[in-house]
Amino acid sequence: MDLKEAKGAIEAILFMASGPLEIREIARILEIEPPIIRRIIDQLANEYEHRGGGLEIVEIAGGYQMRTRVEYASWIERFYGLQREAKLSRPTLETLAIIAYHQPITKAEIETIRGVDVQASLKRLLEKNLIKIAGRKKVIGRPLLYKTTKEFLRYFGLASLDDLPKLEELKELSG
């Protein structure tokens, strides 16, 4: 392996790492002496420094790490905060599935099916405007009923609730 290839490999390996990597770990895999690895990483770190982009390579906790520069932290947080905002967690998706197929339905009924508290999921789904309150059920305690919204249809690309695939269509797919 020539120096240019070693440098590319090290850059790629650093890119993939979730924490600092030790010189000797890299040296063992690439079969290159540790001092040479160190020299290559120093050179890479220097290049990143001079380029002044969004990334840096730093020595940390006895190893080297490629990471974003501190001045861009707030942009990253905003970006990934919003990205996360657009997604649903598994438990929330389960709650939504029950409401979609059993609407209108009360919290207690959902909890009977899921077997756990669904307060947090309901709150999140209401915030995301995927479900709404559809009156109260005429039983003791008059609990609130929930159903899906127009936004729900849009989110899942459905023309109407009739377009929801049926349970037996899935069973057919699972063979």
Binding site: G81, R84, K87, A97
Partner: protein
């Protein structure tokens, strides 16, 4: 006995395409007699090797034999108005279409092989476990819940069930709504005895014309309606 290398084919069209290629014949002028007999030989071989011959292979065999017999019929000279269609033309069309997609599949496979060698970073912890939900995920989540619940049924100790009491309870569900799904009604009851009692109560209510049971198509959700009459 001579060595036979048995290839595995995805279906009848895959096998036919292979035979066309192996015999180096024109796909627009398939020697149907030759291809049919080789096709049948292969089917027999599959049976010998205990390979799973699906019904699709047999259907194609029947089609081939039918085409062969049509080709054997004496041909009347067609007039200009009614040019007789070659009995093989539909088969040729199907083979050509299938061949196109086989090539497309080959392209995708090559494409993936290069993509398989590039890596991006693993998802960061913040977005892990979150999904951009699609319909399949939604349905899948629902199916898994139903399955889990079915597994729970029957584990819990039975208690005394009074059918008359259950009938009253069932009717109370319909005070506000006109209909209710059968699976949701049953979801409230955990034990087998409870479920049976509920079913009996339901049947009694239907007999008394207080409730109706409707299903729009076989295997679809069963809905219980309050009988308007």
């Amino acid at each position: 006995m001579h060595q036979v290398k048995l290839e595995v084919f995805e279906g009848p069209l895959d096998l036919l395409l292979h035979l066309v290629r192996k015999n180096e014949v024109d796909i627009f002028d398939i020697p149907i007699h030759q291809i049919t007999s080789q096709y049948l030989d292969y089917l027999a071989l599959m049976r010998d090797y205990d390979l799973n011959t699906t019904s699709e292979f047999l259907v194609m065999a029947a089609i081939l034999i039918q085409i062969k017999s049509k080709m054997l019929l004496p041909r009347i000279e067609p007039t200009v108005e009614e040019i007789e269609e070659d009995p093989r033309s539909e088969l040729t069309r199907m083979l050509l279409e299938y061949k196109e997609y086989k090539e497309a599949a080959h392209f995708l496979n090559e494409r993936r092989e290069s993509q398989d060698k590039v890596y991006s970073r693993t998802p960061n912890k913040d977005t892990e476990g979150f999904v951009e939900a699609n319909l399949f995920e939604l349905l899948d989540a629902f199916a898994k819940l139903i399955q889990k619940r079915e597994e729970r049924v029957g584990e819990i100790i039975a208690d005394e069930i009074n059918i008359a009491q259950r009938m009253e309870e069932l009717m109370s569900f319909f005070e506000r709504t006109e209909r209710k799904s059968f699976s949701l009604l049953l979801s409230k009851y955990r034990t087998k005895r409870e479920l049976i009692a509920t079913l009996l109560a339901l049947l009694e209510l239907v007999r008394l014309r207080k409730l109706r049971v409707l299903q729009s198509e076989p295997f679809s959700e069963i809905w219980i309606y309050r009988d308007a009459a």
